[in-house]
Symmetry: C2
Subunit: 357 residues, 2 copies
Amino acid sequence: MVRRIRRTSGPLDARAQAILRAVIEEYVLSAQPVGSRTLVEHYRLRVSSATVRNIFAELERAGLLTQPHTSAGRVPTDAGYRYFVESTADTFSLPPVEELMIRHQFGQVEYASEHWFRLAATTIASATRAAGLATPAKPQAARIRRIDIVGIQDRLASVILVLREGSIKQSLVTLPEPTDQDVLAAVAARLNLLLENATADDVESRLDRLGSPDAAQPEARVARRVGERLAMTLREFDVDKIEELFSDGLLNVMDAPEFAQSEKLRRVFSVLENRAYLGELLSTVAGAGRIQVFIGHENRPPELRDVSLVLAPYGRAGRAVGIVGVLGPTRMSYPHAIGTVRFVSGLMDELVDHLYS
Amino acid sequence: MVRRIRRTSGPLDARAQAILRAVIEEYVLSAQPVGSRTLVEHYRLRVSSATVRNIFAELERAGLLTQPHTSAGRVPTDAGYRYFVESTADTFSLPPVEELMIRHQFGQVEYASEHWFRLAATTIASATRAAGLATPAKPQAARIRRIDIVGIQDRLASVILVLREGSIKQSLVTLPEPTDQDVLAAVAARLNLLLENATADDVESRLDRLGSPDAAQPEARVARRVGERLAMTLREFDVDKIEELFSDGLLNVMDAPEFAQSEKLRRVFSVLENRAYLGELLSTVAGAGRIQVFIGHENRPPELRDVSLVLAPYGRAGRAVGIVGVLGPTRMSYPHAIGTVRFVSGLMDELVDHLYS
DNA sequence: CGTTAGCACTCTCGGCCTGAGAGTGCTAAC
DNA sequence: GTTAGCACTCTCAGGCCGAGAGTGCTAACG
């Protein structure tokens, strides 16, 4: 009450904040512009609607609310949501019941670790009733743990690469000459000896030690060829792109009334389908190392201006990092979304810790 | 001309067929009900619009055309498309230019065979301007080629299973006791000896020979545990479900004017998101062994009544089979879609042949 | 000085009407 | 069998209107 001297700028007083919160809460539920009268009724504010209108005007001057047209109620702006999120950031935690439900869903985790991140996306989608996003945990600076070569045809082999953290990568190699399984096994043994713990750089610098393309023994020639492929495969890990982005619950987003005209939907899907921007965004989040919220226009590509993203990295920096998050309409329950994403990323941390000891 | 005696049923005469084709062709382009006059103008029919109207009435009695309302033009029914597809099924081949373009796109095929089917979906999407679908080639009756065990932690190991056709499958195993890499290697060697070429059934019947859970030597106990997991993993292959369905170009479908109201879109996406029906459909197609067309209401789930599917299996029955196809509005160019899918599935056949010698 | 009641004003939205346009089916003539 | 002509039907866009919602302003109040 003391602070209400400066009207046009500066921090909002407690009452204005409360009203902003109420508007956001109401709008999240109704998806309709909220008027002064309904707000007073629903939230038992101890003032009249006229007073609320004055504060509306104040909040509008501050850029936190707008009205779609003169005689409509107020709608929060992106800045309004941002203010709301900032001013209540620390209080976002999930009710124990929900934590329990999520833990329960994770109880069904499969043995194949490749499926974990999908489960995370599905869980988040059902908990937030928005779209869940997740990428697999991707090791940074991949190192070789084991190499295996399996002949497919005379001159075709499948090279299986096990990385230090247990993930695997398969690729095909055309052999310089017909080679039988014994030779391939010998080559594999040799490569395992020479390339233990190697990174992409290491492999490349040791290529010559593997053999030359026109060496005397067939082993050397094959080893050289396989080595080249290994370097390529490892390189792909270093590149800072997302391999795979799994999403679930896109239908939830389609159901939101703001996406009734399919044009808006189209924009969102176009971003999801060509992953260029998302890759960039995700690596930003991975770099930041903490949960981040992008609201409406804060997203760089205009296609995402109607939605908000809540993204959190999981895993351990330097080992393996992935992303989980929510994509929903800007009119989403940020506390709930942030709470859910934070909790799920915590669970994923545990899983990664357990796996990558 | 001779046949035009029976009007209400039976085969259509040549002129009626030509007009049906013209209506379909025009409607595919314009997405608007086509009237008798425009048809005469655009297609240089050598009759007047009144005559065309008579034939329209005939086609409508046969259930091949409808009008959305009394004074609108005609629109092909699902049965109309079906008649069209049946009566011209053999003439669907792609112009050489397009074949060349597709071949070119396939030239960029990566070394990792896991990516091939994605490329197929992408290629089909861009060629047909509809959504491309593809599943990876999945071996039927999986057989073991090689087993590899990599320790992750004291009591946690990653089991890598290479199947006869070169695909790999990883899963985690919690070991009955702390085990070091040497022991794991010994177990792997033993399993490789014992389980070469084994199916899920084989593994299960030989479980006791691997060792009992409370055998004297640690190798036996670990081998038993790993064997159990292997059996589970192999079982998953036998189950007749789709592992993965990749789709590309959904945006193309969203752009079609018939999906301007997002309700129809929603229906389509709901089917794509819960894969139950598609799995069933795809295994039907794989069983049939040839290209198949499902038009609008012919699709069992009502969610797909607004779209058509053109699906073809690829690979070799008994070895590995996958699916490629198109999902588009019922108003799609069937000749082009069928031609494209047939051609791409042929290319995939070649790739599979090459790989699974 | 903040709060409030009252009131005129503005804007949207749905319903209704209307005229233009498109396309049809029928009939009678060729 | 084909066609010209014509009356008829239906949709669609545009304009109009009244109801309803919500506002901003002003003047009175404590």
